[in-house]
Symmetry: C2
Subunit: 200 residues, 2 copies
Amino acid sequence: MIKLYNFLPPGNCYKVRLLLTQLDIPFEKIEVNILKGESRTLEFLAKNPNGRVPVLKTQSGQYLAESNAIIFYFSEGTQFLPSDSFLRAQVLQWLFFEQYSHEPFIATSRFWITYLGKAEEYTEALEQKRAPGYAALAVMEKHLQQHSFFVGEQYSIADICLFAYTHVAHEGNFDLTGFPAIQAWIKRVEAQPLQISIDR
Amino acid sequence: MIKLYNFLPPGNCYKVRLLLTQLDIPFEKIEVNILKGESRTLEFLAKNPNGRVPVLKTQSGQYLAESNAIIFYFSEGTQFLPSDSFLRAQVLQWLFFEQYSHEPFIATSRFWITYLGKAEEYTEALEQKRAPGYAALAVMEKHLQQHSFFVGEQYSIADICLFAYTHVAHEGNFDLTGFPAIQAWIKRVEAQPLQISIDR
């Protein structure tokens, strides 16, 4: 059986659990508590020298890191990734947008506030995250004003990827009140099969 | 002919110019001077709401943003992307590593120092970029101690992607002296056909 080295809170790990569950692919979860430094041990670094979760171990014993690389890998040939080459490129566009323009601001704020409980200590750093975080949400809102899902008008890993940290953005003190199209899209994603059954 | 909205200095634009040239795909370059705010005009935001270069316009008039999505799109079915599904996933792993763990530190330092000329003004921010930037280089060094290229022992877009900002890391005050495997890999990448003819 494949193994997923993961931690409950990060959206990056949630993405993989969600896709594998929706694809009905059985997997063993191995908890790596990053708050206790478990992703920086020599044993873990042998799996991913970059010291981050999630990491996937295939049945043949190979390791794969980076949440978006993992979900792309499993979605190929399924309903969660378009077969058209340009649509696939658009999916990747959103996956890279998420890692560069969304996650470093919205996910990091959530981590500091909700998981480290250090909102006061990180006041200045949190303040710097607000403008780029809201800019990312504005890009999403604009797109979703004209589209039901991010690519090809159907649910794909682009939605899984962006949903992961957006639906918990409030835990990083990002307010979605001014983003009605995002709110409606969150409801559409939550209405997908099995979405409700994922650990988080 | 396809159009590439790009700017000379950023490695993210260089990646696309390099791959298209090595693939012998003709393209029209349209300069977008980000130092003059040209990527934030209403006209440009209609092409990429995220306000970043590069952006590609296909012959059918569709736009695609995110450098790594663009190079993945053009490399599919060519020698620059493995056909094996797991090797492709490993390529994507390095592409996401580059955007999350490498570019925000090494490329941003280079931009502040060499293009904005504001090393003094950004002293503290630059200091914060050093540890994660060197950590990314250490991950690359460790991998290249055992491999000639990043994936499958052959030159691919994973190498193009990581080469873009690594070979100019010194412009961000990152010293590659302690990274002999990276230095040797840079020479291997520079020995690829047409590498020398790209604008930079």
